[in-house]
């Protein structure tokens, strides 16, 4: 029987499930669009992974990360619930032990993580600006009628630069349209967009920080060779894009879960069959104060498993009475 660990990264754009063996080798990865429905995406992801793994496996641990990490942990039972920054750092260290700089650009946010001597010593994260994320690139690719996979290689064909300005997505988009109307060709505009993204990233997240090589570029956008090239030109050094660049968060969560289970001796994971459970969510608006929080009630197989969404803790802090909910 094969002993494995699972890592789950639930983001707003994608939900990733990865499997590793005890020696930190990645066995399988899965990428599913979250489409605003993290519960369905995760259920589907785990279900698919379950059938891909077959019968002969034993899951020794599971870790969750991403903006939906707490939801995922409530659903599946997790040994560790870790923020994306630490998870990404851990994963990168596993691949390049002497990594000094991690550039991470995902679907909904971007991060910079600086490490020295194998520990994170500084980071910054940007969630406000959509212009520096994968969703924005997807949207622009769609608008230009180009498959996102070809975006990067088209950028490399560019012979002259077009400068695209814009702090936020709306302005960048309107400036791009403007440049199109001036008659610039598509490769140059795409290249301009890649450069704008890299430049904005460095100006915004990298400001005042020393970005020393080795530099790893990970996250969904790392597959875009146009942006990789733009970073290489701006930083003047080679940039490493790991094989599993788009699922590094899940890998980090998986590694951390393994360590946690080693410490504690057993896993909290509820088992692969949990993919067959039914999950339901109900919500209501709490009218106790003007905050009018949207409180979420989470049911696993018809049993209330958790509540969240309130600012004051009136709902989330109350112990849920069904104590058999873990057996369901």
């Amino acid at each position: 029987m094969k002993e494995i660990y699972l890592g789950v990264d639930v983001g707003s754009v994608s939900t990733n499930v990865i499997v590793m063996d005890s020696d930190n080798n990645v066995i399988d990865t899965l990428y599913i669009r979250t489409k605003g429905k993290p519960i369905e995406a995760l259920k589907m992801g785990l279900g698919q992974m379950k059938s891909r793994l077959g019968e002969n496996v034993k899951v020794l641990g599971l870790g969750t990360t991403g903006s939906g990490r707490h939801l995922a942990a409530t659903m599946l039972g997790a040994d560790i619930v870790k923020n994306e920054i630490t998870a990404h750092g851990v994963a990168a260290l596993n691949i390049v032990p002497n990594v000094n700089t991690i550039i991470e650009i995902g679907g909904q946010d971007s991060k910079i993580i600086l490490l020295r001597d194998g520990i994170i010593y500084d980071f910054a994260m940007n969630t406000v600006c959509a212009a520096g994320t994968g969703s924005f690139l997807d949207r622009q690719a769609e608008r230009l009628g180009i498959p996102i996979q070809e975006f990067g290689s088209l950028a490399l064909k560019s012979k002259s630069t077009v400068r695209i300005a814009g702090r936020c997505a709306v302005f960048a988009e309107s400036d791009m349209i403007h440049k199109q109307q001036l008659g610039h060709n598509q490769e140059d505009i795409i290249n301009g967009l890649c450069e704008a993204m890299a430049r904005n990233y460095l100006n915004n997240l990298g400001k005042g920080k020393e970005l020393k090589p080795p530099v790893i570029f990970q996250g969904g956008v790392a597959a875009n060779i146009g942006i990789k090239k733009a970073f290489e030109e701006l930083l003047g050094c080679e940039i490493i894009v790991p094989k599993y660049a788009s699922v590094m968060g899940a890998i980090g969560a998986c590694i951390l879960a393994k360590e946690e289970v080693k410490k504690r001796g057993k896993t909290k994971f509820l088992g692969l069959n949990i993919a067959d459970s039914s999950f339901n969510v109900q919500s209501f608006e709490c009218d106790s104060c003007p905050n009018m929080c949207e409180v979420v009630k989470f049911y696993r197989d018809e049993n209330l498993a958790a509540r969240w969404g309130d600012k004051c803790g009136k709902w989330s802090n109350v112990q849920i009475s069904q104590n058999d909910e873990k057996l369901a």
């Binding site: 814009g166 302005f171 400036d175």
Partner: protein
């Protein structure tokens, strides 16, 4: 010593006169361009105002050309200007440049003028600051001359019969004035071009829109920051008036000297019902001048401010009631390195259309009332 300073529109010409007369070698930064702004943005705090970023860019480009001493005005104010020096010195020094910076503090009395002259005399290597006074006055005169020229340009441009005549003349002026050295030659150049300007054929009876520009001084006087707003408006047939200029600013600084008169009191009178106190930067002027423009029946006002500019945010808030009270359209334009050209132009064109429509409907109303 190779001294440099930001352009701040044409203010640099007066500074060039002062420092050349003092015998220093002057390095004029390259005309503000995308690279200037990019360099400045790269090394400045992210949400710093654009005048800061552009001046950092100016310095860096001047250092490339050999400059080792930076000059800028600054000093304590409620707004950020007083921190410019400290931050910029730190930025340049941490990039490894061995430079000196010196700063013109706001002058409130004769003693402040004396201190400034002492600083200047240090440039010339002489100890006698009294000798520097005539040079300082030459600088002021140049400033007035250059602002007069610019005012003339603004008046003639919308009325020119030969499109582009003013702009062509102006670009050859900029070239000539940069090549001229010293007070005499520079002022001669300015005067020569004034005469040339007056010879440009114009349509004297042309009905032009009149738009007043208010706001933070640097964004008003530096065309690169306001994306050549004044030139563009002129070419759209609009007569522009700048409420803040470097020469007026200096006059206000020095108007404790009996023979110097500024419009300060008039501006304060205009602002009085809305903002009867200094809150930093040019906020009080923005409010006061908007009121004055409405009194002088201007068609509209454009309010320029750098993104995150503290005093102008307050002014902008107040202008929303001035606009209603005085029934004068106001267009607010917020500027930073991210301002895209297309959206910016669209707003300006739409505003001018709005002003034209208003004017026509006003004439129409008048016709009816007469009948």
């Amino acid at each position: 010593m190779k001294i440099t300073f930001p352009h701040m529109g044409n203010t640099y010409i007066a500074l060039k006169v002062i420092f050349e007369e003092l015998g220093a070698e002057v390095v004029i930064p390259p005309k503000c361009n995308k690279n200037t702004l990019e360099l400045g943005t790269l090394y400045s705090p992210e949400l710093m105002c654009i005048p800061f970023k552009i001046t950092v860019g100016n310095y860096l480009e001047s250092i490339e050309k050999g400059a080792d001493t930076m000059f800028m005005w600054g000093g304590c104010d409620v707004c950020r200007i007083g921190y410019y020096n400290t931050l910029q010195k730190d930025i340049l020094q941490s990039l490894g440049y061995e430079i000196q910076m010196f700063c013109l503090e706001p002058m409130k009395n004769i003693n402040d003028v004396k201190n400034f002259l002492k600083k200047l005399s240090f440039v010339s290597g002489s100890k006698n600051y009294i000798k520097v006074l005539p040079i300082f006055i030459k600088g002021l005169r140049t400033l007035y001359e250059i602002d007069e020229l610019d005012d003339l340009v603004i008046k003639i441009r919308p009325r020119e019969l030969n499109r582009g005549a003013v702009d062509r003349l102006y670009s050859s002026f900029k070239e000539d004035v940069n090549n001229a050295n010293g007070y005499k030659s520079i002022v001669e150049t300015i005067r020569r071009y004034k005469e040339k300007l007056l010879k440009i054929e114009i349509d004297k009876d042309k009905e032009v829109l009149r738009v007043g520009i208010v706001g933070e001084i640097y964004t008003v006087v530096e065309p690169f920051i306001n994306q050549y707003l004044i030139e563009r408006l002129g070419n759209m047939g609009v007569e522009v008036h700048r409420s803040v200029t470097s020469s007026e600013f200096i006059k206000e600084q020095l108007d404790f000297i009996p023979f110097l008169k500024s419009d300060k009191e008039e501006v304060h009178r205009g602002a009085k019902p809305y903002l009867n106190t200094e809150i930093g930067g040019h906020a009080r002027h923005t409010v006061g001048n908007t009121v004055l423009y409405s009194e002088k029946n201007y068609d509209g006002v454009i309010h320029l401010m750098p993104f995150t500019c503290m005093p102008e945010i307050v002014a902008g808030s107040i202008l929303s009631i001035v606009e209603k009270d005085k029934d004068i359209p106001i267009l607010k334009l917020v500027l930073d390195e991210m301002t895209g050209e297309s959206g910016y132009l669209t707003r300006i064109e739409a505003f001018i259309d709005l002003l034209l429509n208003r004017r026509e409907s006003k004439f129409y109303e008048r016709d009816i009332s007469w009948s």
